[in-house]
Amino acid sequence: MADIPLAVLLEGDYGYKVQVFDTGDTMAALAGKVVEQVAGVLVAPFPPDAILKVRLQGSDEALPDGLTIADAGFVEMESVEIYRAG
């Protein structure tokens, strides 16, 4: 597995951030890492039961939680949104 930087936008944030992940990270892990960095810093912390999803910028479809970055075929600095689905 390898490092991969991505451009990430957590729902509510004023702008994109750049974070480095592991290509083996699942979408759930990705979301968790972004929340860890941005929630409680620029965006209000989410309630513990909040369901956070990942989607490609411009897409309406959530990517499966268990899908890895590698399998999702993200390129370096892919733009992804982390949003609250429920």
Partner: protein, 506 residues
């Protein structure tokens, strides 16, 4: 007096074209520097500067202007005012003076390129005045900044910033080098004199001077106005060029030059003037909001000027009107939370009273940008200062060099707007480029070779150009430990500037 009136001999000073015989014409005037549009010399000779001045009058007028600005009385007033100025005003002065000295001085070279390469004699002569003017602007502003340095080392950046790789300086250099320094004389003049100087400088120099006068900083206000009188003269170079372009079937080219120049400079002024006017200017001294200044000084005037010339509003005008109300608010959040990356002491300027003003001027502010600030404020209230600084960097636009931002906040707001930061990315020759907006991306696509080899500060972090480690980033940007920004109020602002910070409820 038996001297001739200027108008009796002025035309001879612009009867100075000749046909070269000892070198080829294109060696003397390479098209890529003089005129890539193929317009005849006879046409260029119709260039008529609206505002005529001769050398003799120039040196007399300019000498008089500087007498007041450099007087001992003025210096004492400046020193006095600065000592008693609030962190707000000091931050505003630091933001203004840091980049402007070298940028103005550098513009002297842009005008000199016009003197050397223009086929229009009147333009060559006016550009000589432009060269002299910009040396004046660089020197007077550096002089003012230098007087502050004994009180505050932040003003060292008025001198040193030009040589640094600080991300804000990279952003400014990229924009100014693009429109002023790396094109033919005609294009540079249309972009610099018409789009930039005629379009925007009133904002920073007149708009800001109104705030300064209100704040009682009269020497700063006077200096700004004095500079602007020069600007009005040499900014006139752009208008006759556009007329000549249109008359010679080059309207589309002229339009595109204006569209590029206007957008590139808007981004810079949005950050510089937007943060100065809507945040750093103390509340009680704010004449108008950025939006109000923009509409009065830029939107209405520029729209009139451009239509009077026979051009259209830039294609992105509606987006621009939206950007006036949004971009700088997000940039201000970033400038504050990433304050260590700036060399001055950034301030938040979102105390309760200031938030009320922002809401009044930008309805919906509290439900959008205010939501990010609420998190920052809560962290301060809890004493969790380190949580007011993100540990991950922002995405930077490969064109304007500023953060890729949008409207903050969750869900759809009452005014119909919603969270909408978008990375306008583009893949070109195996590399992904990121842009904050369609117009920034559009500029890139017009001439990729011009931009594609440049690396943003984030590109340099990712490719290892910036040394790793906690200090590598700052050292790369020219900032020693003492030069990393801290909150200018030491967090004592969340409940107002007179009220000490209330502790968190148990």
């Amino acid at each position: 007096m038996a001297l001739l009136d200027m108008h009796e001999w002025y035309d001879l000073t612009r009867d100075t074209n000749w046909t070269p015989a000892y070198v080829a014409e294109e060696e003397l005037f390479p098209p890529e520097f003089s005129d890539p549009f193929g317009i005849s010399v006879e046409q260029w000779e119709t260039f008529d500067e609206p505002y005529k001045v001769c050398y003799r009058d120039y040196v007399e007028t300019q000498r008089d202007k500087d007498i007041g600005a450099y007087s001992v009385k003025s210096a004492l007033a400046r020193a006095d005012f600065f000592k008693n100025a609030s962190p707000h005003w000091k931050a505003l002065l630091a933001l203004h003076f840091s980049p402007i000295g070298f940028a103005e001085f550098h513009s002297a070279s842009a005008f000199a390129r016009m003197t050397r390469f223009s086929r229009a004699p009147g333009m060559r002569n006016m550009a000589t005045f432009g060269t002299l003017d910009e040396m004046r602007h660089g020197q007077i502003q550096m002089y003012f900044a230098y007087e502050f340095i004994k009180h505050d080392r932040v003003f060292d950046w008025a001198h040193k910033s030009s040589k640094t790789e600080n991300w804000i300086i990279i952003s400014l250099r990229h924009a100014l080098d693009d429109i002023e320094h790396t094109r033919d004389a005609i294009s540079a003049a249309i972009m610099t004199n018409f789009a930039f100087e005629q379009g925007f400088t009133n904002l920073q120099f007149i708009g800001l001077s109104a705030d300064a006068a209100k704040a009682g900083d009269h020497t700063f206000a006077t200096m700004l106005q004095s500079i602007q009188t020069d600007e009005a003269r040499h900014a006139q170079i752009g208008t006759p060029l556009i007329s000549i372009m249109i008359e010679n079937g080059r309207k589309a080219e002229a339009q595109q030059l204006v569209d590029i120049g206007f957008w590139r400079i808007w981004k810079q002024f949005s950050a510089l003037s937007g943060i100065s006017m809507d945040y750093y200017t103390p509340l009680e001294f704010r004449e108008h909001s950025l939006k109000e200044f923009m509409h009065e000084w830029v939107v209405d005037q520029f729209a009139r000027n451009i239509k009077a010339l026979g051009l259209d509003l830039p294609w992105y005008w509606d987006y621009f009107l939206h950007d006036i109300e949004t971009f700088h608010h997000s940039q201000q959040i970033g400038v504050y939370v990433y304050r260590a990356t700036e060399w001055w002491r950034p301030i938040a300027c979102v105390s309760p009273a200031e938030r009320d003003w922002l809401e009044e001027k930008y309805p919906g502010w509290n439900d959008t940008y205010g939501k990010c600030w609420d998190v920052v404020i809560d962290n301060i209230r809890q004493g969790r200062f380190e949580k007011t600084v993100p540990e991950v960097p922002p995405l930077i636009c490969n064109m304007c060099g500023l953060e890729v931002t949008g409207i903050a906040g969750v869900g759809r707001q009452a005014n119909g707007r919603r969270w909408n930061a978008t990375d306008f990315h583009l893949d070109h020759e195996g590399r992904r480029y990121h842009f904050c907006s369609e117009p920034c991306k559009w500029v890139f696509e017009l001439e990729p070779a011009r931009y594609q080899g440049h690396r943003s500060i984030i590109d340099r972090v990712l490719d290892g150009t910036v040394p790793p480690g906690p200090d590598g980033f700052y050292e790369y940007m020219g900032q020693s430990f003492e030069e990393r920004g801290v909150c200018g109020y030491d967090y004592q602002w969340i409940d107002g500037y007179d009220a000490p910070r209330a502790a968190a409820a148990e």
